[in-house]
Symmetry: C2
Subunit: 391 residues, 2 copies
């Protein structure tokens, strides 16, 4: 019994943490509860129920299925649902009429054939990448509505009435959902996407800003006490591609809100995201040199210390400026320019030092890691420039 109690406590702690991490989750749960309760009013009030009857079920079903966390996802699903139901319903009624004309005995055969063909063709269409991204849900609802309407028409002669009430119920469900989703503390996926991209750039900037200090001190082991989380932050950037793509798709469903117009250039965000990832790959390799087997002795590192530090921290600052530019949605990328210029000057400096051959007397094998770091930092500059251009 004690064990069970322990588990319950553990679970509720987890739940609390989940809610504290993002209080909008709690709000979302209440919103869903509210929407479902509202549409179930159809059952409680006799006048409403007389109008819809069993079709009221479809309103509840619609709310449960299309209510998503973000406005974009909800609108996308709602749009898909209403459009697919209307078209498929009309097509289903049409099919029913054709099948009826062919006579009593052949009707079920014809109906079954139509259902088979439509289901197979539409299922195949779902494999289209463009379809899958935006209309996958709609295509599924299309198959569903078409089969239901055309098949149940065989048993129910008031098929047009049936289809219309059902469509009405679905539209009411969608309307309720959208209104509650948008009016009560909406979660705009566009805003989230915007924050994600800016946050990712910031993580890269933090790494670069701190990297050189870390690298040129690592042998002395003095800075162990400092917080090093900034060295790990970039890792989430490496794998955020599919996340970004989903968000871009959903954001396209949203109308203008806040500082975002309709048709905000979301693909541009994807480009910035991809460039940031290119940069993150380089950073991943840089990071591995913090813990590589062969280390360059400190006295050799010191020779390229100065320019490397400047390159790294100026690139980091440039990227952080970009991140804040994105956050504030200003059009100018001028803030980053001086940092880029600084890091380029430092790069020239580094090249001059290297041309002079600072390590003539050292063990060439041990020099290599430092040389690699220097060379990677040079690469990072061009990466950063590309990001600057894209923003």
């Amino acid at each position: 019994f004690c064990k069970l109690w322990g588990k319950v406590v553990q679970l509720s702690l987890k739940l609390k943490k989940l809610g504290e991490e993002d209080p909008r989750r709690i709000v979302h749960s209440f919103k869903v509860g509210l929407a479902i309760t509202l549409v179930s009013l159809f059952y409680y009030f006799k006048p409403l129920y007389d109008g819809f009857g069993v079709a009221a079920m479809w309103a509840v079903l619609t709310v449960v299925v299309i209510f998503e966390f973000s406005v974009g996802a909800t609108l996308g699903k709602g749009f898909n649902r209403v459009l697919a139901t209307s078209v498929a319903g009309a097509l289903g009624v049409g099919t029913h009429c054709i099948a009826t004309l062919s006579g009593e005995s052949r009707e079920p055969l014809l109906l079954a054939l139509f259902v088979f063909i439509i289901a197979a063709v539409v299922t195949f269409l779902r494999f289209f990448p463009e379809m899958k991204a935006r209309y996958d849900y709609g295509l599924m609802i299309f198959i569903l509505t078409f089969s239901l309407v055309s098949v149940s028409a065989y048993r129910d002669d008031e098929v047009i009435d049936l289809a219309l009430t059902r469509l009405n119920a679905i539209m009411i469900g969608t309307f309720t959902t959208v209104v509650i989703c948008v009016l009560i503390r909406p979660v705009w996926i566009g805003v989230e996407f915007h924050k994600l991209i800016a946050g990712n750039l910031e993580k890269l900037g933090n790494f670069l800003d701190g990297f050189a200090d870390e690298y040129f001190l690592v042998s002395e082991k003095v800075c162990n006490s400092k917080d090093k989380s900034f060295l790990e932050g970039y890792k989430s950037v490496l794998t955020s591609k599919s996340n970004e793509e989903t968000m871009a798709h959903l954001a396209r469903w949203e109308p203008g809100h806040g500082r975002f117009r309709l048709r905000h250039p979301w693909t541009q965000y994807l480009k910035v995201g991809n460039l940031a990832r290119q940069c993150a790959y380089k950073i991943e390799t840089l990071n591995s040199y913090l813990r590589s087997e062969i280390q360059t002795p400190q006295e050799d590192r010191i020779k390229i210390n100065e320019p490397c530090k400047i390159i790294s921290s100026e690139c980091g600052k440039a990227i952080k400026k970009l991140a804040s530019t994105i956050r504030k949605m200003e059009k100018t990328s001028d803030l980053a320019e001086p940092h880029i210029a600084n890091s380029k000057a430092a790069a020239e400096n580094l090249k001059t030092i290297l041309k002079a051959g600072p390590w003539k007397d050292s063990n060439p094998l041990e020099i290599m890691p430092a040389a690699t770091v220097a060379s990677l930092l040079l690469e990072v500059i061009s990466c950063t420039e590309k990001v600057v251009e894209a923003v």
Copy 2:
């Protein structure tokens, strides 16, 4: 009109390509059509229809919603659907009984309250990462069934009958779907996952196997005519993480099939996939040196040509051997060992060359890229070793 015709031709060409790329897509479409036609028989045969009535609709609905391309996804959804419907149905009936006891006037209030609470709590549970991964669909169905049963009970007194027929219809739909999905040319997601991991390793192997040849010839520009697709193949490995995770989740739903037992160690595959990605990040950096601004002159490259070529191609061969070991599901990783040993010997050789300081008279700046390549190749060895250990 001509334009329209052109679009139709274009579309059908696209469709054809889609089918040719993976003929299983066509098979899948037919399977879905067949399943829907089968369950719609409920409507055509009077004796069957009399047993189910309108509830036959739920069988069609279930088939449309749970039939997925792979067996794993279908089983997962089917399991979720049946379990959630049973539990939520029972709970709904219970709620209805409690509400009835409280008297006519307070019944709708109580029902609405229950629905609100359950909907809000279960929606919140869907945010749990563990829940989201495996039971998201089930939780949605839970809310749906609970609301439908408890609310419609208010208007329909034969609520237990209603719930049972509906559950029956859903179980028949699920059964039909699963049987057709498994018996007719099944697509096992486990097999796909297995192939993906092995294929990813192979792509890395191809790159490493060809990289050194490419790098040490790039200035002479002789091999432009050769097919260089192997240099791009690894890029898909960089971003396959979320794909792999989804597949691992779905694969867990599948029973034993072919050479895969139930409880096949899918997490092990994820580990190999992650290590392969670590390796791919290094490769991404290596690849960028094929087109970097500062190039080491050929006469300097030639000095480390021999060992670098060996390291790169032996690592490539080791990884390709691993890929084929995975493909054949053999337990031994012995095949890769000699290649690893070779590349380690070459690495020692490279280190000796570097210690001797081969580039004393060259421009140190121009040497850097080659030195970086050498150093990255050394890193790749340790990466490869880790993959070998994990397989």
